[in-house]
């Protein structure tokens, strides 16, 4: 097996995995604070991909530039979704939350089908088919840029939660709901804020993902499942775990394709999930539940 083949594929897997990680980061943030599993996560990312397509078609806006308006719109959408629809379900049984968000997902998928039809859409920016070459190693330009944006967004989110007052307040709500209420924090508002931030993460991931794959309405459920695999592997509620999980899944799919069979590469992300559930059920960076 030529070494450059393995390295090229591994690099592509890691870069794609970083974008997956950003997508899963949004899910992890939402669950870590609000304790709601967003079963419409992949569908939201699909909407972000379509938003990037529409902005490109209408204004020739590069997805990198589309990130800002789309993220702002998704922040608002996430905030309102949490405040208006999901909040009443936080104290209800988990199966109610599940059904609510699955229903939201189905509405979103069918809405996309009505709006855009079933055919694949994409953007074609100038650099999308270009690559950097370092000897025999190739770096797909679009993938490099998308991964860089994913890392930058994750770093910004980490910094927000670690160094800002609002971020610390959100962490307080996540650590101790009652304690946060006692000290006078408006927990419902911070929950909505967190859902907005998680949605904005997904929006950035979607704008980057459209540079890598074409979008169809049916992509949503597949990405929801992928996001779940990543956060479970990484650790539900762990931000670092989401990124690590994304990279591991991207890398395992890529290397499985090289060493075993390309048509079976997605099987390996699920095999990894099974291993993690068996030997480290809290996820690689998740905290063990006592």
């Amino acid at each position: 097996m030529p070494w450059d083949l393995v390295l090229n594929v591994a690099i592509a897997g890691i870069l794609t995995g970083l974008v997956y990680g950003l997508m899963a980061l949004g899910l992890s943030v939402i669950f870590g604070v609000v304790r709601v599993v967003n079963f419409a996560h992949g569908e939201m990312m699909t909407i972000a991909m379509y938003a990037a397509v529409v902005l490109f078609a209408a204004f020739r806006l590069d997805p990198f530039l589309a990130v800002l308006p789309v993220a702002v719109a998704f922040f608002a959408f996430g905030y309102l979704l949490q405040a208006g629809l999901i909040n009443p379900f936080i104290t209800r049984p988990e199966h109610s939350q599940f059904m609510l968000l699955v229903a939201v997902a189905i509405v979103l998928v069918n809405g996309l089908l009505l709006a855009f039809g079933p055919d694949a859409r994409n953007v074609l920016v100038d650099y999308q088919l270009e690559s950097y070459a370092v000897g025999r190693i190739l770096f797909d330009k679009a993938r490099v840029f998308a991964a860089a944006m994913a890392v930058a967004t994750s770093a910004a989110l980490f910094a927000f939660f670690r160094f800002t007052r609002t971020g610390k307040a959100i962490r307080a709500c996540a650590d101790n709901y009652l304690g946060a209420k006692v000290v006078g924090l408006n927990v419902k508002r911070y929950y909505a804020l967190t859902f907005g931030l998680g949605s904005a993460c997904v929006a950035v991931a979607g704008c980057m993902m459209i540079l890598l794959v074409d979008v169809t309405p049916s992509l949503g459920p597949a990405y929801t499942l992928l996001a779940f695999v990543i956060v479970i592997v990484g650790g539900l509620g762990s931000m670092g775990g989401a990124l690590l999980g994304g990279v591991l899944i991207g890398l395992s799919e890529a290397l499985a394709g090289v060493f075993i069979e390309p048509s079976a590469k997605s099987m390996f992300s699920f095999a990894l999930l099974i291993l993690v559930l068996l030997f480290r059920p809290q996820g690689l960076l998740g905290r063990k539940v006592s």
């Binding site: 030529p2 450059d4 083949l5 090229n8 594929v9 592509a12 897997g13 794609t16 039809g117 079933p118 055919d119 694949a120 994409n122 999308q128 088919l129 270009e130 690559s131 070459a133 190739l138 797909d140 890598l212 794959v213 074409d214 049916s218 992509l219 799919e253 890529a254 394709g257 090289v258 069979e261 390309p262 048509s263 590469k265 997605s266």
Partner: protein
């Protein structure tokens, strides 16, 4: 006390029964159908949506053309299989329940297998427009008919045309990597190539690797990396439309420029969407596929009808899809005209006796074997030149010379 029926009462009852049988609505429809109801099953959405919509154009123009040709009235009952085998099965059942006299479709081999089972169980004729998996007409079915090459025929004709291409170009590539979509069709083609290629000793190349991929894959980076790493002279490709586009883009990203991309017989690279999406990158791709005869009288008639319904489109981008779909409905209508009945067994028998010489697609007249398969369907070497799929071989049907190797070729 026993009641006895007298002769008058008995005669009245018998007359009443006879009248009921004669005037039973079902009986009238079956015996005196003025119109043939054709259930058209095609993947108009999902991964094969583009191609299914292309096939649908052939179905849509068929009633008008066939009315003029044969004087037969056709009613289309369209159903979307959604590129899904289970949906295809369900839609077929529904069409039969809604009164379809014959089923036509479905482009995809997996769906064809499912619909064939339904058609056979329900005893309704099914004329396959496009589906290559050989086992479909090897099941001993009495109601299933196919006017399309099997994967073996496609591969045989396709490989022979590759040899003709190399001779015409005076080039002898030594190695090829074979990539194929991993579905019913792709696997059937792969089996066919595995069986036939070793015997084609006149072909100068050998396969250095075989790579299969998921037809619904969104990213083919790994697959192209593997193919490129084996350093072949050209790419032998069995694909569908969306993956053909993904593959070509990935080849550009990974700076892989082989002598050419040659399909021994698969959809994708001659489809309009391939040209629209890829632009100049679509040039020089080669597909050895069943194709229409540009010089046939029926082709001109169909083209006129096509342009009337699709004034902004070109038949050449839908040649295979429109041609075979139209011919499938033509077969059904021709049989209906001869049988003068929509009774399933009668109609099926009439289809079995089909002999249509005045056809659109290259090859021998449409005649079914005992297994329900048309033999002798021809293929052409179709190369993308100037944004149009152009016949470059056989020479008798060619409108341009082949370009091989492609100008972008860079020896590694």
């Amino acid at each position: 006390m026993t009641q006895r029926i007298n002769r008058r009462q008995f005669n009245q009852a018998a007359a009443g029964l006879a009248a009921a049988a004669a005037f039973a609505p079902f009986g009238i429809v079956r015996a005196q159908a003025a119109k043939l109801k054709v259930g058209v099953l095609l993947p108009r959405s999902g991964v094969q949506g583009f191609i299914g919509q292309s096939c649908q154009k052939g179905a849509d123009l068929a009633p008008g053309v066939i009315k003029e040709m044969l004087g037969v009235d056709i009613e289309l009952m369209n159903a979307d299989t959604e590129s899904n085998v289970d949906t295809a099965r369900t839609r077929a059942e529904r069409l039969i329940q809604e009164g379809a006299h014959v089923l036509v479709g479905p482009f995809d081999s997996g769906a064809a297998v499912a619909i064939a089972q339904v058609a056979e169980q329900r005893g309704v004729p099914f004329v396959i427009n496009i589906a290559a998996a050989p086992p479909i007409t090897k099941q001993g079915y009495k109601f299933v008919f196919r006017n399309f090459q099997t994967a073996i025929d496609i591969v045989r004709n396709g490989l022979d045309l590759i040899g003709d291409l190399f001779r015409a170009s005076n080039v002898a590539p030594r190695t090829a990597v074979f990539m194929h979509v991993n579905d019913t069709f792709g696997q059937a083609m792969a089996k066919g190539i595995g069986a036939i290629l070793p015997g084609r000793t006149q072909l100068p190349f050998k396969l250095v690797d075989t790579i299969s991929y998921d037809p619904a894959a969104k990213d083919l980076t790994v697959e192209i990396s593997k193919a490129r790493a084996s350093n072949p002279d050209f790419l032998l490709l069995v694909c569908r439309l969306n993956d053909a586009i993904l593959l070509r883009r990935e080849m550009v990203k990974q700076r892989w420029n082989p002598m050419g991309i040659i399909s021994p017989g698969s959809p994708g690279m001659y489809e309009e969407q391939y040209f629209k999406t890829l632009g100049k990158l679509s040039e020089y791709s080669i597909s050895n596929v069943p194709w229409y005869n540009p010089k046939a009288e029926l082709t001109a008639v169909v083209e006129k009808a096509f342009l009337k319904q699709n004034p902004k489109d070109k038949l050449v981008f839908h040649a295979l899809n429109v041609g075979f779909t139209f011919e499938a409905i033509l077969i059904a209508a021709d049989a209906f005209k001869r049988a003068r009945s929509t009774e399933p067994k009668t109609l099926a028998e009439a289809i079995r006796q089909t002999n249509i010489a005045k056809k659109m697609m290259l090859g021998a007249p449409i005649k079914f074997s005992a297994e329900g398969q048309v033999e002798g369907i021809g293929s052409a070497c179709v190369q993308n030149l100037g944004g149009i799929p152009t016949v470059v071989l056989p020479q008798g049907a060619a409108t341009a010379k082949p370009v091989f190797p492609a100008p972008y070729y860079k020896k590694a």
